[in-house]
């Protein structure tokens, strides 16, 4: 039901889908939508996720049928057909995906039939029939995986014991997605694993097709891809391991490694050697050189659950700061997910647990922050800068939407990322 949302943080499904497709090497989305949908969703997603845009096609270069009144009245299938034909001629892509805007969704254009005509001619083109109003960007991410699993992942590929799919980090929505994938891939490579991310190192359609050959899905997210996990298991015999929140710092990253090692029965000697190398010889080796650089803080976090869990746990468990308030900003509907997230945020090793709120409306977010007078460090999105200024406390912008930082492959994930996070908190004192 429609409700009041000040400064909405999520996009529509279309935005979510477009953001994910933008990270697949040489994949071209085709919008069957109104003239503004592509620009609006591009600007609202990657445009607010740290300032970089998808490299292959983005915003002005994405084909769109730009549906007008004529199509609303008479149907837009002919316009879609000529748009697809033109796209295949003009854009040199490895795969094409047709997206459905609200307009096409409501008037009921038969997108699948039009796409099938081109499939029959041998073009690698896929229909995504989920219209904009069907949900938010997170649902867009899950919708893309549904399309992968229903239409692209190939059955009968020989199993590869050391291949894993690394999932749960949303490209062009999580501002640190590139760097997060890079750091977690680095760690998994050290364990002797090959990693499918689908979205980095020019991975794309080949890796998606081959993902059924993986030995394990590692889902780094406390709640997304529940259905995809079930489908991978049922149709491709790929089990999933859920990592309930982005691992940041020694404690959670080591735990991340041990869970994977157990799931894949990896050689313990090698695993422990990697942990020792990363923890002792790397992370703490640096941390001990700047003891006391950051003064003790009582902190509040505002962000999506994946990042909020990672940040809260690192700062409380590893850095001995005091958690006061964690606000989860993405809408979610299953109670079990909220419970899992709450549990992860409150079962801390040393600290008193923070208050946990689930809230998307900037009005209530600002109110909750204003009411807590003990906060001395606020970590949130660009939207929280204002309340940070009003409270006259340190404010670090780390979660979506970020419109005042440029982020290529910076990461706070894993071992190395935790050092960067600590540096950035100091820079922002």
């Amino acid at each position: 039901m429609s409700k009041v949302t000040e400064n909405p943080r999520g996009n529509c499904v279309l935005g979510g889908i477009n953001a994910v497709l933008g990270a697949i090497d040489r994949a071209c989305p085709i919008f069957h939508a109104g003239p503004g949908c592509c620009m609006q969703t591009s600007a609202g997603e990657s445009g607010q996720a740290g300032g970089k845009t998808p490299f292959f096609v983005s915003s002005v270069s994405i084909p769109s049928s730009n549906m007008l009144e004529k199509e609303v009245v008479f149907g837009g299938e002919n316009k879609l057909r000529s748009t697809i034909q033109g796209t295949i001629e003009v854009i040199d892509a490895k795969a094409y995906f047709v997206l459905t805007g609200c307009t096409a969704g409501i008037i009921g254009d038969d997108i699948v039939s039009v796409v099938d005509e081109f499939r029959a001619k041998g073009h690698p083109i896929y229909a995504i029939e989920t219209p904009g109003f069907a949900g938010n960007s997170d649902y867009g991410y899950e919708t893309v995986f549904k399309v992968f699993l229903d239409q692209i992942v190939e059955k009968g590929r020989p199993k590869q014991k050391n291949l894993v799919n690394l999932l749960g980090i949303i490209p062009n929505h999580d501002p640190f997605w590139s760097g997060n994938f890079e750091e977690l891939t680095r760690i998994l490579n050290k364990l002797g694993l090959e990693v499918n991310t689908f979205f980095t190192q020019h991975q794309g359609m080949d890796e998606i097709k081959n993902s059924g050959a993986a030995a394990l899905n590692i889902i780094v997210n406390p709640w997304l891809l529940k259905d995809a996990a079930e489908q991978y298991e049922a149709e491709f015999a790929v089990p999933s391991l859920r990592i309930e929140g982005l691992p940041i710092g020694a404690t959670d990253t080591t735990d991340f490694i041990r869970q994977i090692a157990a799931a894949l029965d990896l050689d313990t000697v090698r695993v422990e050697a990697v942990i020792a190398e990363e923890e002792e010889e790397y992370v703490y080796n640096y941390l001990e050189t700047a003891i006391g650089a950051l003064s003790w803080k009582r902190f509040a976090i505002v962000g999506d659950s994946n990042m909020a869990i990672g940040l809260t746990r690192y700062l409380a468990n590893d850095y001995s700061f005091t958690p006061l308030l964690t606000i989860i900003t993405e809408p979610m509907f299953r109670e079990e997910d909220k419970e899992r997230i709450k549990n992860r945020l409150t079962s801390l090793e040393y600290a008193k647990p923070p208050q946990v709120l689930f809230e998307s409306d900037q009005y209530h977010i600002a109110k909750a922050l204003a009411e807590n007078e003990e906060i001395t460090l606020l970590i949130g999105s660009t939207n929280e800068r204002e309340i940070g200024l009003q409270k006259d406390i340190q404010c670090s912008v780390i979660s979506f939407p970020i419109t005042d930082r440029l982020i290529f492959n910076r990461t706070y994930a894993g071992y190395r990322g935790s050092l960067t996070l600590t540096e950035d908190l100091y820079d922002n004192l």
Binding site: M1, S2, K3, V4, T5, N7, P8, R9, G10, N11, C12, L14, R26, G34, P35, G36, C37, C38, M39, Q40, A43, G44, Q48, T53, S58, S59, V60, S61, I62, P63, S64, S65, N66, L68, E69, E71, V72, S82, T83, Q85, G86, T87, E89, V90, I91, D92, G101, C102, T103, I106, I107, P131, F133, A134, G135, Y363, T382, N383, E386, P401
Partner: protein
Amino acid sequence: MAMQLDISDIGTRENRLGSITGYVGDLQDLANQSNCGSLKGGVRCFSQSSTCLSGCALGQLSGIRDVAVIHHGPAGCSVTGAQIYTVTKQVAKKRGVVNNTVYIGTDMSEEDTIFGAGDSLHDIVVETNRRYKPKAIFVSSSCATGIIGEDIDSIVAELRDEIDVPIAAIHCEGFKSRIWASGFDLSDHAVLTTIVKEPKQKRNKINFKNFYESARDDIIALFKNFDVEPVFLYANATVEELSHISESLATVCICGTLGNYLGNGLEEKYGVPYIRTINPLGVVGFETWLREIGKVIHKETEVEQYIQAERSIYLPQIEEVKKELEGLRAVLGMGPGYTFEVSRVLQELGMEVVWAAAWHYDKRYENGDIPPAMDYLLKNTPNFEVSVADQQNFEILNILNTYKPDLYLSRHPGSTVWAIKQGYPAVYVADEYMIFGYKRTLEFAHTVLDTIRNRSFEKNLAKMVKLPYTDWWYKQKLDLFLEKTK
């Protein structure tokens, strides 16, 4: 044709002004066809992303101080609200004022598209008013609400009895128009019909329609020479200020596309003269514009003195830099309010315009005249190639590849990015005041020089980047996908 200021929804530019988005030809031909009435825009059977009118409409309105913009639609329509929010706050901070405008999305769902969300919209407006106590409320529709037939006019009419601040319905169904500038007209129409009051007294003020008032201090100082004060619209304007713009001496604008509806509306309804010269970009534009202002406010002598004093400072410097710009070849892609103005300035600076692409083209403005920039070019400059396209990135890159200019200029950041990826130095004319007056024209000339002198980034990048377009496309004619309308 009289403007219809007594209705809630106005026609699009296509319908009101005969505006088009599809054309390939040249300046003379475009103007001749406009004049004899035979100009019909083409329609593309293949297109890349355009933009809808909601960004222009709601972007303008959300700049007004302490108002609420309620975007009734699915989350994607309002998601850039957060960006608008940041820009609004930053622009206000720069000026030293506080702007408490809020941008609200209604997060329309699948269920709402079936059962309608009129009741919840009513409640949302009431709740917004209770929470934020805005000075005015703008309620916008979207494609989805338009198709399911949500009657926002009736909802807003009902709310007028319950809420004691001005409240307007903005008809932003994106499928209405190919021309996003129609959104500027929607915002002007809302201001004219719900906020502006009947004049009680004349004030020594000039309405200045612009985007982000970056040249505010300079313009205040400029107008002080003539004993008038500017009222900048709409960024950071208060609702109270807006209610009095019918009492100003004149309306001027930085961009004809932006100012057309408000300027003509204020003139037609309240007799506030609208300055319709070419725009104050470059030397000729600035002087023509300023002289007309002088005439309207009866300060011709003071204007002339000012012009002579400034000329003696800046013209020798501009002449100097012109020597280095002489003969450079440029391609432009901008909204029509800028394309034809900047084409003129480039020629003033000694450069050659090899292709000008306008994001749309208005055959005439609200008062029935052909846009002054176009008129000026026809009378004063050599003919050059022109296309009209709602962005259409693939066409721009084809033009660049064919003509290989020294420079590409655009007022759209996404467009310059692709030119640079293809190896062309590009100037993003982001600030609407980048070429305003003598000083900034001089600075602009230096910016162009700086841009073309160091091309290392573009050269290196273009070597590494594989663009999405097929080799086949670069060999095609530009109008391949353009179908003539009957």
